[in-house]
């Protein structure tokens, strides 16, 4: 059973330890620095934090002594020649009937290291990092060096190999705000799923493009968005342009994957070959950011429903966690111990986690809640944390 929770917050990394039956936060690490993701590598216990410096660029920080001391890891860098097609947003004088111009290109620079993922137990030192603007970086030496996965970067859905020259296909990836740099709006990789049965089998999720799968260790990639809906787009069933908020798989049943986006909760039980919507606005489960899946039962998942889309706050002023145990056919609202009045929290995509019977989530209002009975009852671990970006059991 887990005895540690890592919080990535607007003001640093907070580690919460369990001693006997109580959970106690330590003094904050990386004080004053936004931490967009923090997690523990289950293979060797190394702690990782993704620092989202406002001025000094994204950095990875690593602790090999359980969080007592932290060291910077060499910065991830895009290789020379890495470019992407800039999505030019329409202006008031935009003429939709004018002939399309040539694409605009930008040299890639890392705006955010949005997530970190760990290889399987038989891949010591294998790490993945997902960035804005849409780069998957891989390390084979525990984070000492990193390489951009070029097949994904050069994917035809992004315009093809821009190292080699001009675009050879249309860019179908849209953007997401990179908070460190106001005005930057580029694709971002926030979810990396590694199949525990086969480390060459990977999924990544991109805001705003969709889910992409590799079965050959990242040499080739195929979009996996069949059944997804974009009900705010001209073509709701378009292959690309989806905005998965987070994608998670069941460790014990890796063909069971879940995601939530602007249009509902989606479930796949065939390895993302097909997705189906398993929520409806009337059910109270529709919009939200995070999703967590049970490690053994792929039909059991948790979400934190929110008011869509322009509101992005708790529904009706009361916080709840919704749980399904039947693949999304039905959802149960869990509220015991959560505030049911004057709650305006929003829980971001990495800020919900499950470990056995433990469930923890935290909000941008600085509230952290924990359940030790799979969501039936909740206790508050604190109300005055900085805005929380990520929650991960260690």
């Amino acid at each position: 059973m887990s005895n540690m929770i890592l919080l990535g917050t607007r003001k640093g990394t907070v580690i919460v330890d369990r001693t006997n039956s109580t959970w106690q936060p330590r003094p904050i690490e990386h004080a004053g620095i936004p931490v967009c993701y923090a997690a523990r590598d289950p293979r060797d216990g190394t702690l990782w934090a993704s620092l989202d410096h406002g001025h000094w660029g994204p950095k990875l920080s690593r602790s090999r002594d359980g969080g007592s001391t932290w060291q910077d890891v060499l910065s991830l860098k895009y290789p020379e020649g890495a470019r992407y097609i800039v999505k030019v947003l329409p202006t008031p004088d935009f003429d939709p009937l004018a002939p399309a111009g040539q694409p605009e290109y930008a040299d890639a620079t890392v705006y955010k290291i949005w997530t970190i993922a760990f290889g399987t137990a038989d891949q010591p030192g294998k790490l993945y990092a997902g960035t804005i603007p849409g780069g998957l970086f891989v390390s084979d030496d525990g984070g000492e060096t990193w390489q951009l996965n070029r097949p994904l970067w050069n994917h035809e859905s992004r315009g093809g190999d821009l190292f080699a020259g001009d675009a050879t296909s249309e860019n179908r990836w849209f953007g997401t705000p990179a908070s460190i740099d106001y005005g930057v709006f580029e694709p971002g990789i926030h979810s990396i799923v590694i199949d525990p049965r086969n480390p060459d089998h990977l999924y990544v999720a991109v805001s705003s493009a969709g889910v992409i799968e590799s079965t050959d260790g990242g040499l080739t990639w195929t979009g996996r968005n069949r059944g997804m809906l974009n009900d705010y787009m001209p073509n709701p069933e378009a292959e690309w342009g989806h905005d998965p908020h987070f994608v998670a798989a069941c460790a014990g049943q890796p063909d069971h994957l879940w995601q939530q986006n602007h249009c509902g909760v989606f479930f796949s039980d065939d390895g993302a070959q097909n997705w189906r919507k398993v929520s409806s606005p009337d059910s109270g489960v529709h919009f939200g950011f995070p999703i967590a899946v049970d490690a053994q039962d792929g039909r059991t998942a948790w979400v934190v429903p929110a008011r869509a889309d322009m509101a992005r706050m708790a529904i009706g002023g009361g916080l709840c966690v919704a749980r399904t145990t039947d693949g999304g056919q039905s959802w149960q609202s869990k509220r015991n111990g959560l505030p049911q009045a004057h709650a305006y929290d929003i829980v971001l995509r990495h800020a919900l986690d499950v470990a056995g019977d433990l469930v923890c989530f935290a909000s941008t209002s600085g509230n952290v809640y924990l359940s030790d009975d799979r969501g039936e009852t909740w206790q508050c671990l604190g109300n005055n944390f900085p805005p929380v970006y990520s929650v991960r059991f260690g």
Binding site: H53, G54, H55, W56, G57, K59, D72, L74, S75, K77, Y78, E80, A82, D107, A108, T109, V110, D181
Partner: protein, 92 residues
């Protein structure tokens, strides 16, 4: 030799640069920053992006003049100059 001064914010990450006079050989801004990086490995990752350009919210002045070439850092720093490295301010 030119000297380099910087926002105290950077001392948080590079304490080796604090409470000392940082003197480096004259040359381009790029060379000056590289010399600072030799003293404090990793320093350029904080002020330069993937392409070696100044990060968007980082400013460098030679004496009282903001450097012109933010991309390749070719502005020349002479022997008598002081290079200042500072950050954009934001409100709260």
């Amino acid at each position: 030799m030119p000297t380099v001064e910087m926002t105290s914010h950077l001392y948080q990450f590079f304490p080796v640069l604090e409470n000392r006079t940082i003197s480096v050989p004259a040359g381009s801004v790029a060379q000056v920053l590289q010399h600072v990086n030799d003293i404090a490995p990793g320093f350029t990752d904080y002020v330069l992006d993937d392409r070696g350009a100044l990060r968007r919210h980082v400013y460098v002045c030679i004496n009282e003049t903001i450097v012109f070439d933010r991309k390749t850092l070719s502005d020349y720093v002479s022997d008598e100059s002081v290079v200042y490295i500072f950050q954009a301010l934001s409100g709260g």
